[in-house]
């Protein structure tokens, strides 16, 4: 990630390579890679500011400008950062050559990117991705996205002055397919007990590289090494008899401004996230889907429509979590409701009921925000988390004694 920020800083100074602003979910980074265009993610900027505890200043600046208090805090952190000239690392970020709104699932994206385009005085291209209402995308939906991807190729050709090199595109798509394979294997390592890593809190360190380097050889090497290291760790943990006390599935993005405090609330109980939906924002690969170098455009379109959690409907999200609970052998589900995120949070009350009542899976629902530090109340969250584990512990011991007896 340091390397990526460095490249962005170089691009800011020299204008090369050009950068394109994109959304993380359903990003067609394979296509930008084929043109050597750097991806620039406003969401990543917002979360980097939040985790470094720098998001409040830009959020307040955006509110002063007129954004409402319940607007998405990612939007306000990002937009306010442009107003204030703040960047996460302190080094400059380039002015995008293209603002590419690969709009999946959340319609906030459209307004957000319109604003970025106006503020940065950069051309906007809105790539409209149909929402996945039914089980699978229709042939028309795929063709519709492919047609727009081809329009985008023309835009990228104009910006870079280069023709699309199909071999280069296939190579980028191949790299993604390899990264997805490794990432999927890493996710499956968490099915072991103990899990060698936390698939929510630790996963964020692998999610950045997934967004930024997925379509490159460096990305392939990085994820290969990560898999090898985690396999080794899994072995060592097993030999040492390390055990997690609780295995959990997390839904929703983390409260970045209080990441450490939130993490500690679960660490205190020796609980480990064995799976999370948030780690599939950049792609849902653990159930077998991959980019396909033989069908580059179609497989990019499929990723945008089908293989990222943001564009999937509520039943599919529930089903995804249910599979994690069953196949990753989890004790319970934690839902983190994000106050300012309408897309991800809508329906989570029903989701809670589905898991706790219909399936009988102990489910905790807590609220704060992903970028606005003002919505986090440590004492109240701590009480909810502690109460959840106290109940879980009693049920576990009741179950154990029932088995023994």
């Amino acid at each position: 990630m340091v390397d990526w920020y460095q490249k962005l800083a170089e691009s800011a100074e020299t204008g090369t390579p050009p950068a394109a602003s994109m959304m993380v979910s359903g990003a067609c980074v394979e296509l930008t890679q084929a043109f050597d265009v750097l991806p620039l993610y406003p969401e990543v900027n917002a979360l980097q500011l939040a985790i470094r505890r720098q998001s409040l200043e830009p959020i307040l600046a955006a509110e002063e400008f007129g954004y409402a208090s319940d607007n998405c805090a990612y939007v306000k952190a990002d937009i306010g950062a442009y107003f204030k000239g703040i960047t996460p690392t302190g080094s400059p970020l380039p002015k995008p050559a293209l603002v590419l709104c690969n709009f999946v699932g959340c319609n906030t994206y459209v307004k957000w990117f319109e604003h970025v385009s106006v503020i940065m005085e950069a051309p906007l291209y809105v790539l409209d991705v149909p929402f996945l209402r039914a089980g699978e995308p229709s042939a028309d939906a795929i063709a519709y996205v492919v047609r727009q991807l081809k329009e985008l190729v023309v835009k990228l050709e104009e910006i870079t002055g280069k023709q699309l090199d199909m071999d280069k595109l296939r190579e980028a798509v191949w790299c993604s397919s390899q990264v997805e394979e490794y990432w999927s294997k890493i996710k499956h390592l968490a099915r072991r007990s103990p899990s060698p890593f936390d698939a929510y809190f630790d996963a964020i360190t692998l999610m950045g590289p997934l967004y930024v380097h997925r379509a490159t050889r460096e990305g392939v090497a990085f994820f290969k090494q990560a898999l090898e290291e985690l396999e080794l760790k899994a072995e060592l943990d097993r030999e040492a008899g390390v055990r997690e006390r609780f295995r959990l599935v997390f839904e929703g993005p983390p409260p970045y401004p209080h990441f450490r405090a939130f993490r500690d609330m679960f660490a205190k109980w020796n609980a480990c996230a064995v799976a999370s939906t948030y780690s599939t924002v950049g792609g849902l690969w653990e159930f077998g889907a991959r980019h396909d170098p033989d069908n580059p455009f179609e497989s990019i379109a499929l990723h945008m429509i089908e293989h990222n959690v943001t564009n999937r409907n509520m039943q599919q999200r529930n089903e995804q979590i249910k599979r994690y609970v069953e196949e990753w052998d989890a004790d319970g589900v934690i839902i983190h409701f994000v106050k300012s995120c309408r897309l991800f949070s809508a329906g989570q009350g029903d989701m809670r009921e589905y898991f706790s009542r219909t399936l009988g899976v102990p489910t905790l629902y807590v609220e704060s925000d992903l970028a606005d530090p003002r919505y986090f109340s440590t004492a109240q969250l701590q009480t909810r988390v502690d109460a959840y584990f106290e109940a879980l512990e009693m049920h576990k011991s009741a179950r154990t004694s029932a088995h023994v007896g």
């Binding site: 109340s377 004492a379 106290e390 109940a391 009693m394």
Partner: protein, 271 residues
């Protein structure tokens, strides 16, 4: 060691309970929390010990609960008020399946199994809407003491409609009804019904199964109990000790651990 204690540090009052093995509760105590949570916890515990004619050292294990649980200097362990209210309500009424706890600063609904173990719970959002603090504020605007405020509700004939459950905005609602010449009892009843609706909608998020037991300080407010029963459509179980349910539950959890604490060498520091 036959005795164990629970101390429940709430935002307005601190409660203590002492239980004896195979005998149940032997003493309860209540003090105002005031500015020092640590001192309030000590006071409540000492008063309960005196009440039971015990020396603090006679008590084998102390569990602290409530929002100030981590500030109790002499406790052996802490548990959340959710686990403690569930256990306490179950001890008071063993047929309890749902606990509604209304305290000074928050309200919660807990679904429990037949052992008093928590199955599910929901708590009100961060603000004081619909809690004891809200009622106290409304009573103050009307110039009534809390006891009068609760009793007056029964006299209402045409309860007003209070549309806010915001502790700050309710004040202007009440003042405008007074200006319209509405009777205080109708306003009081309106306030109780508004909170009851909010509390019941919260409680419906856990399986709201009978029997329903009300715990927490607000349980002493008869107007609130009547309003909750009306909105729920079922009678509530309210014990004279409902206020102590958290402390009692904590004491029972402590009793579970009395023997274990000796084995593990954990011991309470002197009070």
């Amino acid at each position: 060691m036959r005795f164990a204690a629970g101390v429940d540090v709430g935002s307005t009052q601190t409660k203590a309970a002492i239980v004896e093995q195979n005998a149940g509760p032997v003493a309860f105590a209540i003090v105002d929390t005031g500015a020092s949570v640590t001192r309030a916890a000590e006071n409540a515990f000492n008063v309960a010990c005196r009440e039971a004619s015990l020396q603090p050292a006679d008590v084998g294990f102390v569990v602290g609960t409530g929002y100030g649980r981590y500030k109790i200097a002499f406790g052996n362990a802490q548990m959340t008020e959710i686990s403690c209210h569930a256990r306490g309500a179950h001890a008071l009424f063993p047929n309890t399946r749902t606990v509604i706890d209304m305290g000074g600063q928050d309200s919660k609904a807990i679904s429990v199994d037949d052992n008093g173990h928590v199955l599910d719970f929901v708590m009100n959002d961060k603000c004081a809407a619909g809690t004891g603090r809200f009622l106290a504020n409304a009573a103050e605007v009307l110039g009534l003491g809390l006891a009068e405020f609760g009793a007056l509700s029964a006299k209402a004939t045409h309860p007003v409609k209070i549309t806010t459950v915001c502790t700050v905005f309710v004040e202007s609602d009440i003042l405008s009804y007074l200006a319209l010449g509405k009777k205080p009892e109708d306003i009081v009843r309106g306030v109780h019904l508004a909170i009851a609706k909010r509390t019941v909608s919260l409680a419906r998020r856990v399986p709201l199964e009978p029997s329903v037991t009300l715990t927490g300080g607000v349980s002493r407010n008869e107007g609130m109990v009547a309003a909750l029963e009306e909105v729920l459509g079922v009678p509530l179980q309210v014990s004279p000790q409902a206020h102590f349910a958290g402390a009692l539950g904590a004491a029972l959890h402590a009793l579970d651990r009395v023997d274990a604490s000796f084995e593990s060498g954990v011991w309470r520091t002197a009070v």
